[in-house]
Amino acid sequence: MAVAWAVILEAARVVAVLVLVILAAYTYRSLFFALYRLFSPGRMDYTDLAGFHLPFVSVLVPMHNEEAVAEDILEALAQSDYPKDPERMEVIAVDDHSTDATGKILDDYARRYSWVKVLHRQGGKRGKAAALQAGTEAARGEVLVVFDADYVPGRSLLKFLVAPFADPEIGAVMGRVVPHNVGTSLLSRLLDLERAGGYQVVQQARHSLGLIPQYGGTAGGVRRAALDAVGGWDPRSLTEDTDLTLRLVIGGWKIAYVNRAECYEEVPETWEGRRLQIERWALGHTDCLHRHLKPLLRSAYLTPREKLDGVFLLGAYLTAPLIALGWAATAILFFGGQSYLPVWVPFFLASTCFNAIGNFASFFEIGSSALLDGAGRRVRLLPLNVANFVFSTVTVTGALAKYYASRARGRTLAWNKTDRHRNGNGSANGNGDAYSNGRGLNHIKARAAAAGMQRSMRARGMDS
């Protein structure tokens, strides 16, 4: 018994040190990115080229039961200032096994606008990657831009997004995603903070430092030749975006991030919706880790710095079970009488403990993004992100347990769709329930304008 206990303690010690080392690496990376963004000038980001480089763009919008939002995105694309010349732009809306009115809405738009094409998929594999693959087969564009159905692209977004493709080495471009349904729940406010940190700090820092910005699968574009060169979309992947990011960089292409190419999206408003979302991300991401880690490390096109960043990117979801493991190991050590702390150490540990919960590093990233966005007030909510942090840690740990169990049994993982919170049969024209419920395109624009006005009044000291 004593021997077994000694083994457990020794194992806990090893695990604790290992976890500390790995998490410390992620901590310093987060700190470095945040400080870099706060104090270093950004890299030239191709924005001068917006409107001067206008390749033929195929906009792909995969949709599965998206009647609540389908009209908004098509209307937003109709208002885009990208030339609607038949050799410059086409929109391919993919109705992926929808059972609601999505198909009918899309057909109506195809009748109204010659540049809208609809693909109805009722057979074959369901899921975003499969829908994208079908859309890509029908697309004629040199650049493919992908939007999820709940996105609201601004009028000039396409011009900013395709500008970096003037650089022949760029295989994919990612824009910035900004939640519009902030304030509908605590979760949506916390996710707004998290997104800001992820894009304004992490993605921009990666771009500026010449690392690997992640192509996020929506509000982003991919060069058709690059996509074909790396084998197209992989319908087996639950996170086709991470999968494509890795295949592109391993294949010698670069990925650009354009902070100025902003696009509104809808974030989950319920914890259940959030759970489904991060579960899918964790499963897909970890699957990418297993498939791409070796090729990444062996790639002849990547510098050691890029490879290190790629490893951090691939291992991101493993930090959750590591944290859980770290908690368990330290609890065993603590209650096993393995603490050798001098009396004065608690003072030092008090602050590090506080930081370990998350008020440092990744939270610092979020705080920095709020500063860069000039949105300092919302950062007061940041300590509550502990709830989101713990929730994510538990969910991702569970998802990874599920992943490795499925892998051991040789099963494939199922794709799930994120819930939409706009309702009614589209809302772009301001009619119907959706608009009166304050979730339509016009409402989103009005909220954004009001937020801008509030910001400028605050800047002039006119805020009550």
Binding site: V152, N181, V182, R189, D192, A300, R380, I444
Partner: protein
Amino acid sequence: MGEPLVGYLLLLLLFLLFFSVSLFFAFREWRRPRDASPLPMDVDYIRIENYFGQSFRAKVREWLAEPQPNGVSAGELTNPKHRITPTGENLLLVRGGRIEAGGDTDEIVYSEGDLTIARGSVFRREIYCAGSLDTEAGAQLQSAASDGELALGENSDVARWIDANGKIVIRSGAVVRNRASSLTSIELERAVLVQSLYSPLISTAPCGTSQDGFGGGGDSWPRAHDGAAAADNGRPHYLEGPRCTRLAPGTWLVQGALELPAGTRVEENLIVTGTLTSGPDCGFLGHMKGARINLGPRNHLLGNLSAQDSVLIGEASRLERNITAGRDVRLASGTRVGRPDSPAVVSAAGEIVLEPGVAICGKASAGRWVRTI
């Protein structure tokens, strides 16, 4: 046992103290939100390259349309009229003519006709001239918009922008610290500094407003390129030496430096991780990227050109599309960028140096300066 326990209790208390203080503010923000709106983003935003001038003109016209109690309208220059804008600013209305140097002017100026600003005058606010605007040497302006032509005198200094519907001439030694834009053309004399320029034709003296050298792609394609390169097992001859890979059909990645001999014709997209150097009379049908790019004289590029570092373009070269550089760009004499029917951009994070006789159809934008020599 007692001492460690006290230590852990202290630890717990300190932790709870820090945690509860930050949570207090967080809970307050949650329950009584002061900033729960989405990050402001102008969904309707469209980039307008001469936005400063357009928006200022619109604002002045709006102010002029506002009724004034004393019926002020534009008067003689010798007796200019003042008008108060709704935002409480003074608008000085003049009919046109010449404003003599006489200290600083702190009012926004609106001129109904052609206006000349005398040597050394200082205008701390914007000028809107419905006719043509001419500044003599050493004038200092905040910003200026002209519905006609605009000439900026030698060694003048503009703190922000200038915009004209007609031709703009920026004379030697003048500085424009932000954008110069014209709907017609911009001519730059020697030793001019501008942060960015936008016009259908931007040229450095002695090029003038001539559009020579912008002929169509086919008619001016150097004869030396014809048949200068052939493919061998899919790999072009000029790539036989260096280590290279085909990233996609028509796109080659060269690891290291690449030197192209005179008259080489490149039909593919080319990405070079080192320095790309070309001899005279080379032709490029695709896009090009390099860590550094040094093109020889009379090169002709139909695609875009990007460099992580600097770009040097040899004299009398023609680049039909955009140039971007992570540092500096230098365009030698006689270089042409873009076409009148297809404007292009020269963009550099550092400096853009324009030698005499250079012409750009479109935009030149530098992180530091666009400088003429």
